[in-house]
Symmetry: D2
Subunit: 281 residues, 4 copies
């Protein structure tokens, strides 16, 4: 058997990324990278104690240098055959600039950099969000700008300048729409290496933080949204992993450049059902 293992890189050590890693990481070397080394080490240890071979690392996806350093570290264990990107900041945690720097620009850099080293037959999934599906129509020109503007010029686009971005939620929606569009343009490049890339746009997925919010002062609004959705419940990270595993395995080998919305029908209901836009303020 070959000395070097297949390497899977997880960026952003949250519940969804971990659930996906558990599906695709067995028998491989799993690099668990997070902005916080403490998080990365805790998750890497949990996964080690669940049978995975892991290394903890730090990464700031808004920094190309940091991503390049992570790639170099990952390559020391073998060829990178899988990438799971769950890194990002939420619109309630960060100011507009940070959302755009991390979620819009950072994701674009990450896809670009891993696209230059991904192994033949490799595959990536990046976690976008249902939020991007509530942004409304973009013109073909706007879509093309988000999809194809050279990464280092993305933050100079007129449409993401302060005056054109209403609030952090708007910045987040723009970023998540951009993720999906970058996945499209990157897919054409990853394809030339025999690799694939897709995104998943999850709805409300329960985490400890989400449960705190559901039980907190703004909880009633969220619960109304969940109860009013077609499926009528929140989702689990394990359900996101159901889709991610298909996309990253041979079963999904015909799929590239796609986004998979899984949100209990919230988006459908936002546009054409009971969940009126007012509920999402």
């Amino acid at each position: 058997m070959s000395k070097n293992k297949d390497v899977v890189v997880l960026t952003g050590a949250g519940l969804i990324g971990v659930a996906i890693s558990r599906r695709v990481g067995a028998g491989k070397h799993l690099v668990v990278a997070d902005l916080s080394m403490e998080n990365a080490e805790r998750v890497a240890k949990d996964l080690y104690n669940a049978g995975f071979e892991t290394t903890a690392a730090t990464v700031d996806i808004s920094s190309r240098k940091s991503i390049q350093a992570l790639i170099k570290e990952a390559q020391s264990f073998g060829e990178i055959t899988g990438v799971i990107n769950g890194a990002g900041v939420s619109p309630s945690q960060a100011p507009i600039e940070a959302v755009l720097k991390v979620d819009l620009y950072g994701t674009a850099v990450l896809l670009e950099e891993f696209g230059q080293v991904i192994a033949e037959g490799g595959s990536a999934v990046t976690i976008s969000s249902q939020s991007g599906h509530r942004l409304g129509s973009l013109s073909e020109e706007e879509s093309e700008l988000l999809a194809t503007t050279p990464t280092e010029e993305l933050l100079n686009l007129e449409m993401v300048q302060a005056k054109n971005v209403k609030d952090t939620l708007h910045a987040y929606q723009l970023s998540k729409r951009c993720n999906v569009l970058r996945v499209m343009s990157e897919a054409t490049k990853w394809g030339k290496r025999g690799a694939r890339i897709n995104s998943i746009s999850p709805g409300i997925i329960i985490t400890p933080l989400a449960n705190d919010e559901l039980n907190g002062p703004r909880g009633e609004g969220y619960r109304r949204m969940i109860d009013g959705s077609p499926v009528g419940r929140a989702g689990t990270a394990d359900e996101v992993a159901n889709v991610a595993e298909l996309l990253m395995s041979d079963r999904g080998s015909f799929i590239s450049g796609s986004d998979f919305l899984m949100d209990a029908g919230v988006t459908a209901s936002y546009w054409y059902g009971d969940l009126s836009p007012k509920m999402f303020k």
Copy 2:
């Protein structure tokens, strides 16, 4: 055990619908409906000889009465817990009016009618097409019209009148985009019954007919499109079934109102890669 079986209805007895039926039909009663009774019977017999309990039926999805009759027949075997819609006409087979009547209006009626009888916990998948993803941007108003106009008024919409539809391909793209939007608005209704509905937009999937085309006079263009796609090959009905099975099973129980594009990255490449729009004429 209960006398009545779970019933799965397949409309359109083509390769994709059959592949999906094989995944979700075991132990259930499978009603195989097609415009041609001969087709329906041939497929029903094949599936019977592969271990499935089947009944052949006819349906013209452009007729509400025909769909209602099919539903009545299906219900005679038990509750309808699954619907697989693969019926439709292709833009190279039919004039503009027929494409709109079957693919746009017919699909809308079918989703509406089955949405009034689907069992709690039931699930449907309708086969759309990558073509809908090449239509270009619609305004929010246009999308809403396609999504929510009462079904019997759909063919009166200004945007589908003869003067506004360039050719059969355009009619097909409009229809397939409409399918995805109807799935969204229907999902909000199916949800109230505890049921789910999603669509899949496949790319080039090989069938005997497709192989004839690939080896025929226009084959070179198709082959260039396939070879130039990010994945670099055509797909199989079985791969579409990988996604459909997830959507129709418990593994997809958080997913409703979504469309899943699986096209080897052709759409991505059409918009932002090597597959220029000229190749799709």
Copy 3:
């Protein structure tokens, strides 16, 4: 939608049971039962924070009354449609009597009791062990005794009396073989309710405890066993869940009364390869 949820009961809140629960528990009510209420509560809370609706409970599977009380509690949430049994004691933790009382008798009682309440369409998986596959040949008579002796008389069988049981490992192997045989005889009863039951016999699956052992004084022996196995590595609870999920879902609806050995080929190598019996002392 119906008020009552489908209920899945997990007995034994270890890593394998939890991994399976994450696959099959979404949208259902999950009763997490363990001998230790502290364990049950910790796991129930973790799963709650991962999006599952959970209740913690205690159960001593060696007590029929305790199992009956658990069933009653579970039924208060709805019909029991799934059972995951991961409860048991290990031969290195407990004396012979306890191994037989819990692993042999307790499992038999549990399968019997749940078999009297399982819903139509329901399914169970019980976790056995590769150890049972190293016991060696039993005669048809011995197998039949383990399979069909009335549960309350199982511990009176000659073959499980102190003089006939060498050590705790032997007691464990007998128990695990018995589990597989009880699954066979129970499957015929569960079938009459339209329900299914199967077992999985995992090999070395990594847990925090297992890692401690691998890094401890006896670690070298274990590592030699893992390295010498055909697959060459230990397994993960998530991989056991791959098989359990298939067995418990519609995809496994033709399967009942079976045992699925997944052990990296250790059993094969023990009998016919490099892993000589001496390594298992």
Copy 4:
């Protein structure tokens, strides 16, 4: 991308083998081999028209030379990463000698020969039968003889000599038990190449021939067996493919040397339920 494709070899072009091929063959080169070139060509054409890249070939698995020639042909397309063995003769079609020559000896040769060329990471599934599970207990010595006797001496074993084999059913049961044991001993060798091998023992799976029998003069007996089984129905080749796909994919990468019985609980019921041995005469 590499010029050479991954090659999957199917031996025995029956319904089960074809169903498995459809799951694991997309994007690979599929060599469809059968004793009858006519069968091989028909199936290869069907699969070609379902999107698979195929080559038809002949093979007589009871001939080492024939297997070696098949391997050579398969290798001309690339590395062999998958093997699906569905070849064999049924006890109602052939005399004792032929059953032993093909099902017992032939399968053993096939596993041995492919085990010398299988790619690292490769995987095989061989189709055994529930019949082997009704043979009754073998001693450890007998099992070891079937598992490890050099292939060319297998047919000289005392236990397979004419005087010790009651009828063709007995020959078939011995052969199928032998398959499972050869899989164990081969797994230890395949493991040294980083490859895995497992078997599946299906119960009554519907094929056109099976339907003829069910509707024929001996049909009542079969139907009683099916109706009396715990699951209460016959199975489909697609359900066997559910298990085979798991075993051959990354999801089953911890599994080697195992046999997976999937038979509606018939074996369980034969030994410990309503299906008395008399029904199987």
